[in-house]
């Protein structure tokens, strides 16, 4: 833990009492008992909590949209040895073929109202297959190079408005706020059925410069 433990724990307690997210860092594990206890005390100080109406509505929308996210057919379920479960469900929601992940829903590219192409570097500055964070005015994006072509996706998670980071070893974009991951082309990884990342317009000029469609 950096600095005196009582100072670090006090910072965490203050954040909790102000209703802020738990932001922990390396070394905080040394005080795991005190920190988890502080979270429990902060969580019960105002009595049992109920969901905000807006959050409840959002959950309802996600639950109701789930059948469209793709399940398995009765045949696929039987093949997978899940015949009983499929029979019980009556096939009502089992109308799609077996897929490892829900199909990505198409999402619109970012089209700024006062758009302009902004130079973010020469093509040689971008490593093959590696995501590089660039800023084009108000648009944040990860640019990927494949040969002489480039593609780009938004640097903001499609689930929570948090900045993503590129994990080179794993080859995916990781949300800093929760365990959401995305491929270089913006598709969500895993079974959460998250929306894909917004594509960002990007091009390579004749002079070999990479330009992203950003804002003034």
């Amino acid at each position: 833990m950096n600095g005196k433990p009582e100072n670090r724990v006090e910072k965490i307690v203050t954040d909790l009492l102000r209703g802020r997210r738990l932001k922990l860092r390396g070394g905080d594990a040394d005080e795991k008992e005190a920190i988890t206890m502080a979270a429990r005390l902060a969580g019960t100080r105002q009595g049992p909590q109920r969901m905000r109406p807006e959050f409840r509505k959002r959950l309802a929308r996600e639950l109701e949209a789930a059948p469209d996210a793709g399940w398995m057919t009765r045949r696929a379920a039987l093949v997978a040895g899940l015949g009983l479960a499929a029979g019980a469900a009556g096939g009502g929601f089992l109308s799609r073929t077996l897929e490892p992940h829900p199909p990505a829903r198409p999402v619109a590219a970012i089209e700024p109202l006062s758009a302009r192409w902004i130079d973010v570097g020469g093509i040689d500055e971008f490593d093959q297959g590696e995501g590089r964070r660039v800023t084009a005015g108000g648009v944040g994006a990860f640019v990927f190079r494949k040969g002489d072509a480039v593609s780009a996706v938004s640097s903001i998670c499609s689930h929570l408005p948090c900045e993503l980071s590129w994990k080179s070893g794993d080859g995916h974009l990781l949300c800093s706020c929760h365990p959401a991951r995305f491929t270089a082309d913006g598709k969500a990884i895993g079974s959460y059925g998250l929306t894909a990342l917004n594509p960002v317009h990007v091009r390579v000029t004749a002079a070999g410069r990479v330009e992203v469609l950003g804002t003034e």
Partner: protein
């Protein structure tokens, strides 16, 4: 629910989600998720993380919710998922394995309604502490005093109260009051 289960389970007192009534299934899920939210909030202490984790529980549980299970089974599954999600949350935030955290997370499923759970547990827990430790945690967490206000109330310094708060939290964590 499978056709092989006893009739009492299918049509007795158990509340069954009638497929393909997705709206009804959603209603039941939301009612149970309200309890899950309170359970999670009481362990992470803030709304933003509680909402994020509740959403993760809901998304993970969707396949099970669609199988037409009794409400009681849905609740069991949701709380099992909530415990797993909470374990993952603390493990990620603290950089420790879930096995190392198991003792600290208080993940037992509540047996009483959320209106009683948590508050009673904390009261029992505080009652077990020494006077000074109990006072500092009560003033800070239950009355919302700042560190400076606690120091004034307890005729001490801010630095000493900070140390006392840390020691009180450690002592409270060791008590393991049954939930």
């Amino acid at each position: 629910m499978t056709p092989d289960e006893p009739a009492a389970e299918r049509g007795g007192q158990a509340e069954v989600v009638q497929l393909p009534n997705a709206a009804r299934a959603t209603d039941i899920a939301l009612r149970e998720l309200e309890l899950v939210y309170a359970f999670i909030y009481a362990r992470v202490g803030n709304r933003a993380d509680a909402e994020d984790l509740t959403q993760q529980v809901a998304l993970k549980a969707i396949p099970r919710l669609r199988q037409g299970a009794p409400a009681s089974a849905i609740r069991g599954y949701l709380f099992a998922t909530a415990r797993s999600v909470l374990g993952g949350f603390w493990s990620t935030r603290l950089g420790l394995s879930e096995a190392e955290l198991r003792e600290d997370l208080a993940l037992a499923v509540p047996t009483s309604p959320p209106s009683e759970e948590g508050v009673e547990t904390v009261q029992k827990l505080l009652a077990e502490l020494s006077d000074n430790y109990r006072r500092v945690l009560e003033l800070r967490f239950l009355h919302g005093y700042s560190l400076k206000e606690v120091a004034a109330e307890m005729h001490s310094t801010v630095g000493a109260i900070k140390v006392m708060q840390l020691r009180a939290l450690r002592a409270a964590a060791k008590l393991r009051v049954p939930e």
